[in-house]
């Protein structure tokens, strides 16, 4: 990915039906997704640097984990969580355009 950091601000849900071997595809939360018994994983990036990870939970709804995000080099996003809520992690953005966020698996 070239140019400036990817503009990922927004709420995204995993459109797992569109995944490839190497990439996970996310679309905006208001996309007309097919109903899914398995809750879709969600990523919420806000302009103020806060982040919410929505992970499938035991009661069939997403379990929210709050953290922070920032852009790094080469399209990487650094995600951090308060102590005890999860290890810091990196997401590698392959592309983010036309309402499709693609992240390397």
């Amino acid at each position: 990915m070239s140019g400036g950091p990817p503009d990922v601000v927004g709420a995204w849900l995993h459109s797992y039906e569109e995944d490839t071997e190497t990439a996970a595809v996310y679309r905006p939360a208001d996309h007309p997704f097919r109903p899914s018994r398995r809750p879709r994983r969600g990523l919420e990036f806000r302009a103020d640097g806060t982040f919410t990870d929505l992970r499938p939970g035991p009661d069939d709804r997403p379990r929210e984990v709050a953290g922070r995000w920032r852009s790094e080099e080469d399209g990487r996003l650094r995600i951090t969580f308060p102590a005890g809520d999860g290890a810091p992690s990196d997401l590698s953005v392959i592309s983010c355009a036309d309402g499709v966020l693609t992240i390397a698996k």
Partner: protein, 370 residues
């Protein structure tokens, strides 16, 4: 489903105010403590140290909150669709569903009639006659997973007392959610199940062509959680490290979706593999058709623990009251003394846990209560 790979460099991030942190910690500790008590009780039933005192079926009074957008009248589902859901529930929870015959021979002996039935409430919280259906018109185009449908302040419908009614909210859900539940131990104002209207019952908006969730099984699954059942794969993301705390359901790696073919072997659970036809997996509605006896033990632990009020508060039909009074007896499923003991146990444990939490918080903050 494979999630993006996450790599962990060292970091530390302290954010948020202590006030918010303490509130969340307090709520979390209270819930977790209650869950520990509930799980301890479930374990006692699972290993046979406690057994159910229940002698007959229990009927759960239900209030259905239909929350519909004013510009989308189809969300205001009709009575036929609501009643079709109760038909499904009263078959599924009594092992009277026609498709129970599809259970593989190796597991037929595990099929459980849970002895739990559901009916629309006939009396509201004030004792007035009701059809058990509350209809609310909302400006909200839909509701997400954050409980907004459970309060009139956020465009939803306020619950009826959760110790006397199972609250079911039916609405337009966003984010492709089918429904979600509350495990026992949640605060009363959040207790109940939420179901998308297109997945509630078998007629009306649930009967749309191509809908694989048209059999009313979303509600069966969510009430399973309400009665303290876990997902059959143990919510461990395929790790095989955790199960559903039920011995007669094989440990399996992850959720099954769609319509799997028997056997589907994971976690070295051959030759029979995953019990993907269990209501607590994630298959299509047509692919799930059984609870097990082990799951029934957990349901009984729940009904005789955190939800014991539903055993104690069974209404006696008017016609039977005179006769019951003459005989000096009451409920036919559980002896009165046993119900009182269960209720007393539950209340005592809850009080002890809350006192422990307060004491722990006071110790941490150096605050002394009078």
């Amino acid at each position: 489903m494979t999630e993006p790979t996450l790599s962990p460099p060292p970091a530390r991030d302290l954010c948020g105010t202590m006030l918010v942190h303490r509130r969340l910690l307090n709520e979390s500790m209270s819930y977790r403590s209650q869950r520990a008590v509930i799980e301890n009780r479930a374990l006692q039933y699972e290993i046979g140290r406690l057994s159910s005192a229940r002698r007959g079926p229990v009927t759960i009074p239900v209030v259905v909150h239909v929350v519909a957008n004013r510009d989308h009248p189809e969300q205001n589902i009709d009575e036929e669709q609501i009643h079709s859901q109760f038909t499904v529930l009263n078959q599924d929870f009594r092992a009277a569903n026609p498709d129970v015959s599809k259970v593989p021979d190796v597991w037929k002996h595990l099929v459980a009639d849970t002895g739990v039935e559901f009916r629309l409430a006939t009396r509201d919280p004030n004792g007035e006659p009701t059809d058990g259906i509350v209809r609310v018109v909302t400006d909200r185009s839909g509701f997400d997973h954050r409980d907004g449908v459970k309060s009139s302040r956020t465009g939803g419908s306020d619950p009826w007392p959760s110790d006397r009614y199972l609250n079911m909210w039916v609405c337009q859900l966003t984010g492709s959610l089918l429904g979600y539940a509350a495990f026992p131990g949640q605060p009363p104002h959040l207790d109940g199940v939420v179901i998308g209207h297109s997945f509630f019952g078998t007629t009306g908006t649930a009967a749309a062509p191509g809908n694989p969730f048209n059999g009313g099984r979303t509600t069966t699954h969510e009430i399973g959680h309400w009665l303290n059942l876990f997902h059959i794969w143990g919510d461990d993301d395929g790790a095989c490290s955790s199960d559903d705390k039920v011995a007669d359901t094989p440990n399996q790696a992850d959720a099954n979706t769609g319509m799997p073919t028997f056997p589907h072997v994971t976690c070295d659970n051959g030759p029979n593999g995953d019990m993907f036809m269990n209501y607590m997996d994630y298959t299509d509605d047509a692919g799930m058709y059984m609870f097990t006896k082990g799951q029934l033990a957990r349901i009984n632990a729940c009904l005789e623990g955190p939800r014991a009020s539903f055993l104690a508060a069974r209404p006696i039909p008017e016609a039977a009251r005179t006769d019951t009074a003459r005989r000096g007896g009451g409920r036919d499923s559980v002896p009165d003394g046993e119900v009182e003991r269960l209720l007393h146990d539950s209340e005592r444990l809850t009080t002890e846990v809350l006192n422990d939490i307060r004491a722990a918080l006071d110790t941490v903050t150096g605050h002394s209560r009078g």
